[in-house]
Amino acid sequence: MNLRIILVGQPNIGKSCLFNALVGPEVTISNYPGTTVEVTTAEKTVAGKEIAFLDSPGIYSISDRSEEEKVTEKALFEEEIDGAIIIADSVSLERSLYLAFQVLEAEIPVVIALNFVESAEKKGIIIAHKKLSKILGAPVIPINPLTKRGIGELVNALLEIKETKGKTFTVRYDDHIEGAIKEVSSQVTRTQLPKRFVALRVLEEDADFYGYLRDKRKIEAVKEGLIEHPKVAEDIAITRHGTAAFIAKKVTQLVHVEEAARSLDERLDEALLHPLGGPILTILTFVTIFGALLFIGSKIQDILTGFTEYLLSLIHLGVGFGSAALEAGLAGMMTGISIALPYVFMFYILFTLIEDAGLLSRYVVNLERFLRWFNLPGRAIISLALGLGCTVPATRSTRILFTKKEKFFTAALLSCVPCSSRIAIIMGVVGYFGGKWLALSVFITLFVSFLVLGYIMKRIIRIEKKPVLYELPELPPYRIPSIGNIVTKSWIRMKTFVYLVVPLLFLGGVAYAGLGALGLTNVIVAPLSPITWWLDLPDAAIIPLVFGFLQKDLTGSMLLLVLGGKVSSVLTPLQIYTFGVAATIGIPCIIALGMFIKEFGFNKAVLLTATSILYGLLFAGLAWRLISLF
């Protein structure tokens, strides 16, 4: 017999971390709330039973307001699940119980995993978990996913999760609400879900559940009957929270602990959230990251390039097309790795570091307000920040925005936010062959193009001017990141690079050799020569740009291939700059285009991709003309 278990909990509560502890290092553990907007599934066999674990986006309550809530709600009620693990926060138990009560209202068997027990104890909070278990009629198990404390016990409890059905705690509402629940329940039909639960959802104005009613007009009648209690929904929420707080208090023991006069957290926040200092520190951090990336990355690139040249000098496969193609493939692969790998990998390590330390969420708060220039809601900054890693997941994350217009606008802006592969081009090609100042100029040009694009888009896509600012994101506590966590997470984000990009680099080289052998190079180069003319680049430079669209990491290696490795002697610094700009503005690659099609439909995606690439080429051509005036 198999089990399907869903993990439910607030954002940033260690849900993904527990998921990892349960099934092995498969998912990204994020200290930044709102980065998981999908359900991840993984399976594990325990005592002859196959348990499928579903990790859901973090939510505070069952509702259909945000995308995270919609996804979790769907997983809870449309997937066939046997039970749920509610990850509860020992530091603020009542908040977790609120969500637990809602799941219990849906008569889904639960096991409560009590997390952060140690940090609660440090604050003088001790939870009597056995007492809580007795009250709830469900197992409550203290856990620590990092040390694996309680994981075995948790899994054992899951094997018997179905036993708890029907014996669990239910919130009792005021008589008038219970009366209304009863009346609405009698109208519920066509569903496996408990009638009481559906009635509650209906009374709480969750439109997804109206469909289960025999007669929708009945709700109005019920509400009219409650003329003396005009705010039923509010009453329900308040009672549920009140019950949660009452029970939490009952099982919580407070011990006095000496508190540090002013903790480091407070001082850090004071500096990082300062109205002026905050944004400055944010920008300084990113400049430092890029500086470190350029400095350390170029050292690694030196070593890798030397190694590549040595290796390639060893390989002489003889004459003939096959061996030439193989050689070109190997050269493409090795050069591509030397150019891209140091920067992409380092970037992910550093990005993960600031994310896990809890710094990223402060930076996001600092930058949010600037998005109002474009009438975008503050949370769009999350997508843009993710865009520094990879455009594909960043595009997917625009789902956390509210309207189609906002999503499209933000996704369009991603064409001017360099992803790690584009950062690698700027550093590994422009910086490596043209120097750090040239790389910096490309970054500045990208930033200007970002502002210009934002301004134009603001004119085209008219978003109602009242963007939601700071919609209650939680500021996670600062943490000292665990190295294991950072490596795992960076590796997961890097995986595509290794499994997808490395073979593509090889194929790119082979394809280039193939084009040369068939005499087809000119078929690409000649018709596109107006572009290279506009950019003042050698005709052959179009090859890396075209290949770059297939996979951005091909750009660097193809440039070296067509120029015979002698970038700095063939191209002037201004040409290196122009190439850098042209290669980095625009929807970066075919995978990103695929994601755009998925999110916005074929027509819009193709239109946006084509326009963004044209915009990049136009911008690059104008930029070098402008610079050469001086």
Binding site: Y60, S61, S63, R65, V91, S92, E94, R95, Y98, L99, K123, E204, E205, E228, H229, A233, E234, A237, I238, R240, H241, G242, A245, E266, D269, E270, L273, P275, G278, V365, R369, G378, V468, L469, Y470, E471, L472, P473, E474, L475, P477
Partner: protein, 199 residues
């Protein structure tokens, strides 16, 4: 026992209140009759008395407030509202009882007591929006006012509820960082305006 003259005064005050609550300051005799459930004789006598004092005028089937009467009516309406609000303790919604108590007591209560009640009820229920709460001073949430249930529920489920302690720890442009139940949240001023607390 209520004296006859007392009844007359009560009916007079009620008529003035009914007129004062009406925007046009003009009410039909018929609706006055249906609202004040006493013998018609008392009503007609009260109207005659009010006319004699120059507070109301009869216009066919309608009664209209004079300028002088409007001033007096306004005070009576205010008194009624203060009492009604005082009895309407948050959370309990026994409206009929509240109305009954108000309707009786308003005629017997002195100006001074009304003033005291006014002070008391502002002390009891009126918090100030978080945007005006002093920095780093612990307050207690008194009310959450949102027209949209979705946002309301989200806020409640995060533990931001009446009677919970709250502290505004930093102001940031157009927003603030609050500390509630051991957690920090960033809150835009637009949302913070809807959360009231006692400093």
């Amino acid at each position: 026992m209520t004296e006859e003259s007392d009844i007359l005064r009560i009916v007079e005050e009620d008529i003035l209140r009914i007129l004062g609550e009406e925007k046009s300051k003009r009410v039909s005799l018929e609706s006055i009759k249906s609202e004040i459930k006493v013998a018609y004789l008392f009503i007609s006598n009260a109207i005659k008395e009010l006319e004699r004092e120059g507070l109301v005028q009869s216009q066919g089937d309608f009664i209209v407030l004079t300028k002088e009467g409007a001033g007096k009516a306004e005070n009576i309406v205010k008194r009624h509202l203060v009492l009604e609000n005082y009895f309407k303790i948050k959370g309990t919604k026994r409206e009929r009882e509240v109305h009954k108590m108000t309707d009786i007591l308003e005629h017997y209560i002195s100006k001074e007591v009304i003033e005291n009640i006014k002070k008391l009820s502002t002390f009891k229920t009126e918090g100030i929006p978080l945007t005006k709460l002093e920095l780093n001073k612990e307050g207690i949430i008194t009310d959450i006012l949102f027209p949209d249930y979705g946002l309301f529920e989200r806020i409640v489920s995060m533990g931001i509820v009446p009677s919970e302690k709250i502290k505004v720890i930093y102001k940031i442009p157009d927003g603030m960082v609050i500390y509630v139940g051991g957690k920090k949240f960033v809150l835009g001023n637009d949302i913070a305006k809807g959360i009231e607390a006692l400093g």
